[in-house]
Amino acid sequence: MDGISLLTITVLAVFVGFEVVSKVSSTLHTPLMSGANAIHGIILVGAIIVAGQATHPWVLAVALLAVVLATANLVGGFVVTDRMLEMFRGRKPDKPAKPGAKPGAGDTRGETKENTEATR
């Protein structure tokens, strides 16, 4: 892609980025920061490309290190954000089963903990 097209996309993305968070309440500042933090973990795509085209062992080693770091950013970022937001649900006792929640070990644990707390 030529430089001008990339510049156009960059400038438009700046405005989308400004717009998309301009009215967020302070309660969600931390999860939003953490979610944005996870998104820049997408540098993983760049790290994969570099590692996949490496021919020299040193280059490969450094590129694989970048893959590990980027994965940690991406996966850890989304997981930690999900954990923060997990805390925000289940407020209303009469709320029916939440739609869209993944069944999984983490979820069940949260559920059990909530129940124990509630019965105290």
Partner: protein, 457 residues
């Protein structure tokens, strides 16, 4: 293996970019936040799968192995980390992302034939390294591996200036000549600059710096996208850079500070430096039983939680105390200052973990007029966010920061570890007022004692 058509690849990257935008949008409201985060994760999966099927890659088993290692380390840590340690974990993840961007740029330098591509390379190198080293220092500060106070030494501004000048020189040389050795030097200078940038920042301002470094990493990722000619990296990185900048300003505004003041305040003789001196003015300290009587016979109690509660892991005890009081007929609310704790929204997360009903968590604007009708304001491990100096003392470092008006309550009870001032390092005059009672000790222990005494009433 046949590769995906470039147009299909472009469409899949576009889809991932849209998912990221929807993710940020979703994170704007409590109702849609969790779904937003999942959408973002889905977008990331789409992008990573796409790169494997659209690019001719060698070393695929090794790459997959590296991905397994990265997830294998990060996911369990993220899942198990305690709520109080979440800010430093976010800092850590941000740092490694910046580090990854810098490494990608370094490895791409030999392939960067155009000068303007090398401009993007040096930008990514420098900003990625600053983000990595800066995040490492914030991590150390939040984890209390080092002092949380601003670290300033006489030559700091000069040193910082010299490092930046050298970095600009090295960057120009790399752009003109493409020397790998100078690129390594630039990386090193970036690391030093990152450390010097964060050292003078005081504990309470660290969250804002995390947000700023988060925006930096976003910009580094965007620049690495320019280096690789990858539109998705450009869009995702720019989105984070832009939204992170806005978020940083919003956080700083919630504290009544400017971003420049936070970064350079300590350079100019320390607005956050303050003093650690312990005052010897008389205060009224009291026993858990007395506090229990105050609370137990009140009509209305407002609890103001702060970082002390988080450190002591006292959120469950605070929730129990609120429950015990409500069963006696007292109305209890929690007043949440936007920047109480180590990160904005920290207290909400913490108290939600302890199953405090959402309706009891009141934001500052909502609760401030209600302190007038409260019998007791119970301040648990908070200080600066209730300090009237923010309104009255023009020279104070927190002057202008909106505060919780606990002074309006009939009685104010502080649960504090000691008379040491808060992060801003300034004394709180409210503690010497006649309506104020202090109970010294660890927040959780004090709350447990008060809870026991309330139950025995």
């Amino acid at each position: 293996m046949t590769l995906l058509d470039p147009n299909v690849t472009a469409l899949l990257y576009l889809a991932a970019a849209v998912f990221f935008i929807l993710a940020l949008k979703g994170l704007n409201s409590p109702r849609t936040a969790r779904r937003g985060n999942l959408i973002g994760a889905f977008g990331a999966v789409v992008a990573v799968v796409t790169v494997f099927f659209s690019t001719r890659l060698d070393n695929v088993p090794l790459i997959l192995g590296a991905i397994v290692v990265g997830s294998g380390v990060a996911a369990p840590v993220a899942r198990r980390v305690r709520m109080t340690q979440m800010p430093q974990l976010v800092a850590l993840f941000n740092g490694v992302g910046g580090g990854a961007a810098a490494l990608v740029a370094l490895l791409e330098l030999p392939h960067a034939e155009d000068a303007w591509v090398r401009v993007a390379v040096v930008f990514t190198l420098l900003v990625g390294a600053v983000s990595f080293a800066g995040s490492a220092v914030t991590f150390a500060k939040l984890q209390e591996l080092m002092t949380t106070r601003p670290v300033v030494f006489p030559g700091l501004p000069v040193l910082m200036g010299a490092v930046l000048l050298a970095a600009v020189g090295a960057a120009a040389a790399v752009v003109l000549g493409g020397s790998l050795v100078l690129a390594l030097l630039l990386l090193l200078l970036g690391l030093v600059a990152g450390v010097l940038l964060v050292l003078p920042v005081g504990g309470a301002d660290v969250p804002i710096v995390i947000s700023l470094l988060n925006a930096f990493t976003g910009l580094a990722v965007a620049a690495s996208g320019l280096v690789l000619g990858n539109v998705l990296l450009v869009v995702a990185g720019t989105l984070v850079g832009a939204s992170g900048t806005i978020l940083t300003r919003a956080m700083a505004a919630a504290m009544g500070r400017s971003v420049a003041g936070i970064l350079f305040g300590a350079f100019r003789g320390g607005s956050t430096a303050g003093s650690t001196a312990v005052s010897d003015r008389p205060v009224r300290s009291s026993s858990p039983e007395d506090v229990a009587v105050l609370l137990g016979y009140a009509q209305r109690v407002i609890i103001v939680p702060g970082y002390g509660l988080a450190v002591a892991q006292g959120q469950h005890t605070a929730a129990e105390l609120a429950q015990a009081l409500e069963s006696r007929g007292t109305r209890v609310d929690f007043a949440i200052h936007p920047v109480a704790g180590r990160m904005p929204g920290h207290m909400n997360v913490l108290l939600a973990e302890a199953n405090v009903p959402y309706e009891s968590l009141k934001e500052m604007g909502e609760i401030n007029s209600e302190f007038r009708t409260a019998d007791v304001a119970l301040v648990v491990g908070a200080n600066d966010v209730v300090n009237p100096a923010a309104k009255t003392t023009a020279g104070s470092p927190i002057y202008g920061m909106p505060i919780l008006e606990v002074a309006d309550a009939r009685q104010v009870v502080f649960l504090k570890r000691s008379m040491r001032p808060g992060f801003a390092g300034i004394e709180n005059d409210l503690m010497f007022e006649p309506q104020t009672t202090l109970l010294f000790g660890d927040a959780k222990e004090s709350l447990t004692k008060v809870l026991g005494a309330v139950k025995a009433l």
